[in-house]
Each structure stands twice: as C-alpha cells, then as structure tokens.
C-alpha cells in the first residue's frame, strides 16, 4: 500500500501527491491538471444534468472510501479460475486495486513484439505510445474521468504493432477493492494499422455486501484497418458504485466489436462511446444486462459518426427483476460531412417484476443528409402465453422465466466469437438469473 487512508478517504490531494510523485513528468502534469479540473467541478446532479436525470448519486459520499489494499487470495483465485474456465489460452493480466499488476501466459505475444504490461510501467518505458492511448480521453471532460485521470494506478497497457495479428487473446482481470475501498481500473490499448486483437476485460469481485467505489476508464485507439474484439464483463460486488467510460477511436476502415455483459454493482453509470473518425470505419456493440434486487444500471452509448461511409450498430438487451432500474441513454450523432453514415440502435427491455423499471432516451442528432439512421426501443414482459406453454410442459414458473430470459439473451450471447467464453458467459448469466442475488462469488466457485 503506497498511501494510508485518511479521514477524507482516498479521493484527496494527498493521494494525488503520492501518484504524482510516482509518475514521469508528463504524466504528473496530466494528473495535476486533471485534479484541478476535478476540484473545480461539482458532482453530477440529477436535477441539473440532463445526462444524470434518471441516475441519482446524491447518496455517494466519496470520503467514505479508503485506499485499496492488496486483494484477498480468494479473489485472485476466483479471477484465475474464471480465466481458466473461459479462455485458458489467453494471456492473463491480473490488476489489483492497489496497483499491483502481474502478467502471465503472455510469452507468445511478447515474442511477437506485442506489449502487454502494467500501464504505470508503460508510461515510463513507452511514453509516446501511452500518450497516444490517452489521446482520446479528455483530461477534465467529466467529473469521474477527471477523477480517474488524477488517481488511476496500476492498469494495463497493450500495444499491437502494425500488421500484427495478436496470436492469443488477452484476458484482463480488474479485481474489486475491499470493503469501503476504492479502485480505479485502467486499460489502454493501441492497435497500429492493420493490427488485430481480442480482449476480455473482467471486472470481478466477491459477493459480500460492503460498499465499494470503482471508477474506470478503458480506451482504445484503432489504426487504419485495425480490428478489435472487446468483451467487457462487469460483475462487481452488489453494493459497488461503478462509474466507467469505455471509448474506441476508430481509424480508416477499422472495425471495433464489443460483446458485453453487465451483471453486477449496486449503481452503474457506464459510457460506451464509439468514435468513427476514419472513412469506412465500423462499430458493432452487442450487450446483455441482467439487473435485480435494488440494482440501478445506467448505460449511455454514443455513436459519433465523423468520417464518411461509417457504420455503427448497437443492440442492448436488458432484463430487470425485483426493484431493479434500467436506464439507457443513447446518441447517434452524425456530424456534417459524415455522408453515407449508417447508424442504428436497438434497446430492448424485459421487465420481470412489479417494481422493476426501464427508462431512457435513445437520441438521434443528424447533421448530414445522405444518411440512414434509426433506432428502436421496446419494453415488455414475459409473455403469459409463453410462460403458460412452458408450464403446460411441466416446467415450474421460475424455470420457465429463466428459460425465457435465456432465450431473450441468446441472440446477443450467440454472437460472442469465442466458444469457451460464450459458454462461460451463458453460465454466468444463468447463475445471475437463478440466484436472485448480486455478485458472482458462489462458494463452490472458489477453487480449493
């Protein structure tokens, strides 16, 4: 542990000073500028900020969260077992909330000239590359991004050189912080022209109900004709406040694909942005979200069409049970000059209980005329006929519901390109639907 918890929690000037002391000069400057911006900004407010109207964080008290310590052995083992089950061939990067980073099973990638390392280390050794990786993230663009810019630690940096197809996927496990502690997960990926990579980012923690804070940024730079398959899984502990920004900047003809599963946290506000800069760049975002108990899960997507002939497509399927609230905000923004832009959003919501709710606004802002853009939103419930049919075949009501939800998610999960990962995700989602509770740490999942 580099710093001691103070009375004001980890989000404080002292923490910044410690981070600055451990950073190269350019990064120290960036952290300081970010802290200044953060300090000058009010926290987002549901009465003032349109973006936050449906997600109220008035009860978030930052000073409650201390600096994170080293992760428990059980948690490390859980993260390892998930990797071993879902994608054992992938290089494994374990990121502790305390900044400790270990890289395993990456020999073949390193031999290729691919960089897989801790972000702190990369900031020292490859400052140009890291700065490129950070170039899509504004220093003070928002409250939580500014906080992250100032305070992140550890982190992962991946660089795939031009023309290189990474021989193995990379599995990144960001381990949740301990009780009443904060973590600042960081992932930066730079793909040079014609490079490709498959990535899993697993945000994982124990099922215990202590509050935690997680403020994450994941940024991708895709060069010309680069390909990235990105599989983010969020299964944080059930009382976690989770704020994340995930952004892919796509160069000419680049293709970004996201296959996501959002399962954990008490309150999530996640921004998923695809910035289609280069002519002919494409993005596909497919995700499922299962929320129950008192979860409040907010996804905000941006499909920014800057270049001509760009294409984007998003499908987000949410199922909400108990008193869970799903919020979705989407924007397809077609800038002048982005001719032949083709953008589409579909947001589907399945409400499973009285008390569950879905809300949001899928927006279109179109400033070029030769385009084809659209969106669809639906909210529905399990069809009584469907339930009856399954029950008439002898399936109990709960199982019938689980079957229907599984079927509902199938057309998203079936797209996950890696078979073992797909199977694992299906099992993960099944378990969420079945256990009626938050986190993913069942006793029998912990390796002996």
């Amino acid at each position: 542990m580099a710093e001691a918890a103070t009375a004001t929690g980890v989000v404080c000037r002292e923490t910044l000073d410690a981070r600055v002391a451990g950073s190269p000069a350019w990064l120290a400057d960036r952290r300081t500028a970010a802290w200044d911006a953060f300090s000058a900004m009010p926290a987002p407010s549901s009465s003032r900020d349109e973006d936050w109207r449906r997600t109220d964080i008035a009860k978030l008290h930052l000073d409650r969260f201390a600096a994170a310590g080293t992760p428990a052995r059980e948690l490390v083992e859980l993260a390892q077992s998930r990797h071993a089950t879902a994608l054992p061939g992938a290089a494994l990067v374990l990121c502790g909330p305390d900044g400790g980073v270990t890289v395993e099973n990456a020999e073949s990638l390193l031999a290729q000239g691919v960089i897989v390392s801790s972000l702190e280390e990369a900031a020292e050794r490859h400052p140009d590359l890291v700065q490129r990786g950070l170039s899509g993230i504004g220093i003070g663009e928002s409250y939580f991004v500014a906080m992250w810019n100032a305070l992140w630690r550890g982190g992962v940096f991946i660089h795939v050189p031009a023309g290189m197809q990474a021989v193995a996927p990379v599995w990144i496990a960001h381990l949740a912080a301990g009780d009443e502690q904060a973590s600042f997960p960081a992932t930066l990926v730079v793909l040079d022209d014609h490079a490709s990579l498959t990535l899993v980012e697993d945000l994982v923690g124990p099922a215990d109900p202590a509050p935690r804070l997680s403020v994450a940024v994941t940024a991708f730079q895709l060069g010309e004709d680069a390909r990235l398959d990105d599989i983010p899984v969020q299964q944080l502990p059930p009382e976690t406040w989770h704020f994340s920004t995930r952004r892919a900047n796509c160069g000419t003809s680049a293709h970004y694909r996201l296959f996501g599963a959002t399962l954990g946290a008490r309150l999530q506000k996640a921004y998923w942005d695809v910035i289609l800069e280069g002519r002919g760049s494409e993005a596909d975002v497919f995700a499922v979200c299962f929320a129950d108990a008192h979860q409040h899960i907010d996804h905000q997507s941006l499909q920014l069409h800057r270049g001509p002939d760009t294409r984007s497509n998003l499908l987000l399927k949410v199922a909400a049970r108990d008193h869970a609230q799903s919020v979705y905000g989407g924007l397809i923004d077609v800038l002048p000059g982005a001719i032949h832009a083709d953008g589409y959003v579909v947001n589907r919501n399945l409400l499973l209980s009285q008390g569950a709710s879905a809300s949001g606004v899928p927006r279109l802002e179109i400033k070029a005329n030769d385009v084809r853009c659209g969106h669809g939103t639906t909210v529905g419930h399990v069809d009584d006929e469907e339930r009856f049919y399954l029950m008439a075949r002898g399936i109990p009501a709960d199982d019938a519901e689980r079957l229907v939800v599984r079927g509902y998610f199938a057309d998203v999960l079936d797209r996950v390109p890696l078979e073992t990962t797909r199977e694992w995700l299906l099992a993960l989602v099944d378990a969420e639907i079945g256990d009626g509770g938050g986190g993913g740490l069942d006793a029998d999942e912990v390796a002996p």
């Binding site: 569950a356 709710s357 949001g360 606004v361 927006r363 279109l364 853009c373 939103t377 909210v379």
Partner: protein
C-alpha cells in the same frame, strides 16, 4: 392531391397585413400594470385578476428553457401583449369591419363555414372578431364561444375546469399566457351529444411586434364527440412576433375529442404553445398536429390517460424550411390500467431547416396492461438540413408493451430514379415522395384541409432541388 411543379411559387401567400384599425392596446412590455389593464378592460371578476397576477409572478420567476430551440431572439419588452381590434364581436360577417373581413375572406374562412363547418371563431390579434355556431347545435346545449365569453356567461363551469389541466406554473410560457390570455375558444359539449362536423377556430396576427395569447378550454362531457380545428397565419414582418397559447382539454368518461392544428405562421413568429388533454375512463383524445410555418415552434401536445381504457393518439407532421426550427412532439402519460397510446410523427427538413421530435412516454406503477407505441420518421432534403430525435421513456410497470422506432434518411435515390424512369422530373418526383411521406397525416384531415395542406407543402417545397 399531388404537388405540381407549376403550382410552386416562392411567396408565403398569407404574408400580407391590414392597416391598423385597433381600438385599444396596452403599452409595449409586460408588468403587473399591463396585466391589470387587460383584466380591467375585460371587466373580469376579481378571482381572474388574482389568477393572472399570480401567473405573472411565476413567469418572472421561471428561467427561459435551456433545452430545445434557440429562444434568445425573444425580447419580452418589445411586444404588445394586448391589442383589441374592434369594439364588438360580430355574430355575422356583416358586423366585422371591412378590412378585417377582407382578410378572412382571403383566408377562405366564410366560404369554408358555409360549406362544411358547424361553427367558426375568428380571432384577430387579441380578440375574437367573429363567432358563430349552428342553431341546431346550440339548441342541443353545445357551447362554442371565445374564452372571455365563456368566463362571463358560464363562470361556474368555466371556473371548475380552467387552469386545472395546465396550472399557471407549468412552464414559463404557460405562465405568461395565464397572465395575459385573451380570446381563444371555450367549448362545452353536453353528455351524449355528437358534433359530427368540425368546429373551426382561426387565429390571425395582424400587428407588428404582436404577442397573441389565446386560451382554449374544451370540455367534452360523458359520451360526447367533437372535432375542433385550428388554423393560424400572420403577416411577414421583420420584427418577431410571439404566439404563446394554452389549450386545455377534458374528455369525460367515454368522450372523444379530436383536435386538429394546421400551423402556418409566417417565419417571424415564435410559436411556443402548451397543449394538454385529460382522458378519463374510456375516453379518446386525438391530436392531429401539423407544423409548417413559424420561425421556431416548441409544442408537445400531451395526453394524461387518467381513466381505465382511455386511449390517446398523436399524429404529427412537421416541415422546416430555411431558418425554421420545428421542435415538436408529444407526451403520453399512462396513469390508469389498460390505457393505450399511439404516436406517429413525420418530419421533413429542407435547406437549413431543422426538425426535432421530442417525446415522452411514461407508464406509472399502477398502470397495468398498457400498450404504447411511437413511430418517428424524418426526411432530410438538403445537405445543411438537420433532424434530431429525443424520445424519452419511463416505464415503471412491467405489464406493458412499449415500442418505439425512429428513422432518419434522405429521399431515396432509387425512389427518385423509379419515378424518373416513368417520365417524372426530379422536382416533381421529390414532391410526390414528400406528399407520400406525409400521407398518414394528410389522410386524417377533412378533405378540404388535405387539399389545402398539400398546396401549402407544394409552396414550401419550392426550389428544393437545384
């Protein structure tokens, strides 16, 4: 009903104005004194003056909306809030001064009245100058008058409903209207009475720097039916005018109200209107809302589905030409179980025009078995054209079937080619496609209005193709 290229002319054909014949006007600007002068001039009961002054406080207190269209061009100090054109309201067109009557003749109102309307009200600046209703309807107890007459002659009924659907503090412009309202329509349809042919109100701004603040209250008693149509035009001035109306509708159990608007203000009018309806058990509300004119329109006709099995429909069409911003949409709030709503919006942006659809569907926790559907389509005709879609939804009951779909595209190259391959030139082909795009809206209008709307569209389409 097709647009012909040779019909296209450049002018807004309603841009003419008459010489000022007004008999009374308040000084420019807004103050408690101006509000008191209006109330005093109308010899209103004390409670109404109190209502107005309270509303004025809300108006002063509330900030300008920071969303939607750009309203920075409005100068509240440079507006006449009340201009009375004549001393007496006419019951026959012969009673209306020649110059004003001439205006309405040119707008085709008396001719339409004879042909297919059950009643007509014509407002000129701040007051209704002509008003009539067919005898058979008034014998059945149907009331149709300007709102001031409603207050004067049916105070009890008026007071029971007035301001209950849209309270004075609802928004800044509703507050302004509540403070300075004048004219508009008061409609009461008794239990079980069906008014099968439409009532029409026509709103005309004549003066420069005018603010028109008509107020409409429609009460459809149990099991009744009424179709109310409003049209509006104004002269083209270099100074901006403001139109801030408030329309309240109450549809009692089993009643059915259809409200049709063909808004064709000149392009110096800020059109900021609050329209809201309450639908009780088994009632139906339909807003048929067409926006072609104005500089800026912000208008979101709303339906509160308060009673079981109530049904709401919003069918809107918007056309934004150079420099125009149509920020229109709808709200459907499902409060009761088994309620249904359906929204269809079509919009076209041409030149530097901008259309925005802004809608809200809300399903409250007690509203089970709700069905709601929203469909928005936008066409962009030119490179500088812009279109936005902001469909808000808040669903708090799982027992719902909600669907929303939207699309934005330009006129299809293949559609143009297909029509051209049949000998139709590009301008006509575009006009045909635009007409077709608005067809779902147009076919809900009475025939005479459909023809008129297509003609207006043809005018607006002028020069859309290089």
């Amino acid at each position: 009903m097709t647009v012909q290229a040779h019909e296209l002319t450049k002018d807004y054909k309603f841009g003419f104005h008459d010489v000022d014949v007004s008999v009374f006007r308040t000084e420019k600007g807004i103050s408690p004194e101006v509000v008191a002068a209006i109330s005093d001039h109308k010899q209103e009961p004390a409670w109404m003056l109190k209502f107005r002054l309270k509303a004025l406080e809300h108006f002063f207190k509330r900030p300008m909306p920071n969303w939607g269209a750009d309203l920075s061009g409005i100068n509240f100090d440079n507006i006449y809030y009340y201009i009375k054109p004549v001393d007496e309201m006419g019951r026959s067109w012969d009673d209306v001064p020649d110059s004003i009557r001439n205006t309405f003749d040119r707008l085709g109102i008396p001719a339409a009245e004879q042909k297919f309307l059950a009643g007509v009200s014509a407002q000129y600046d701040s007051e209704v100058v002509y008003h009539s209703i067919r005898d058979d309807l008034s014998k059945l107890g149907v009331l149709f008058s300007d709102c001031d007459t409603g207050l004067r002659e049916h105070e009890e009924l008026f007071k029971r409903y007035f301001g209950t659907v849209i309270p004075p503090n609802d928004n800044k412009f509703a507050a302004l209207n509540s403070a300075v309202w004048s004219g508009g329509s008061f409609v009461y349809v008794p239990k079980g009475v069906r008014v099968d042919i439409p009532l029409q109100a026509y709103f005309r701004i004549n003066s420069d720097n005018m603010g028109q603040f008509e107020r409409t209250l429609i009460i459809a008693d149990e099991g009744s039916y009424v179709h109310y149509i409003e049209g509006c035009t104004a002269p083209t001035y270099s100074n901006d005018s403001l139109h801030a109306a408030v329309v309240e509708i109450i549809a009692e159990k089993g009643a059915h109200v259809r409200y049709t608007t063909i808004q064709n203000w000149s392009d110096n009018v800020y059109n900021l209107v609050t329209k809201r309806a309450i639908a009780k058990e088994d009632a139906t509300i339909e807003w048929i809302d067409g926006n072609l004119g104005s500089k800026v329109t912000m208008k979101y006709p709303s339906i509160y589905l308060m009673g079981e099995r109530a049904h709401g429909e919003v069918l809107s069409a918007a056309f934004a030409g150079n420099g125009q911003h149509q920020d229109a949409g709808s709200k459907c709030i499902h409060v009761a179980p088994n309620t249904t709503s359906n929204v269809v919006s079509r919009s076209i942006s041409k030149g530097t025009g901008r259309t925005s659809y802004r809608g809200h569907i809300r399903v409250l926790p007690k509203a089970t078995n709700v069905k709601a559907n929203v469909r928005c389509d936008a066409l962009l005709l030119d490179e500088e054209s812009r279109s936005d879609t902001y469909p808000y939804m808040d669903i708090e009951n799982p027992d719902v079937t909600f669907g929303h779909e939207a699309s934005v595209s330009k006129v299809g190259e293949d559609q143009i080619f297909y029509l051209q391959s049949r000998g139709i030139d590009e301008v006509q082909a575009t006009a045909l496609i635009v007409n077709g795009f608005f067809e779902p809206f147009v076919k809900e209008l009475p025939m005479e209005y459909a023809v008129e709307l297509n003609r207006l569209l043809a005018l607006s389409m002028e020069g859309s193709i290089g």
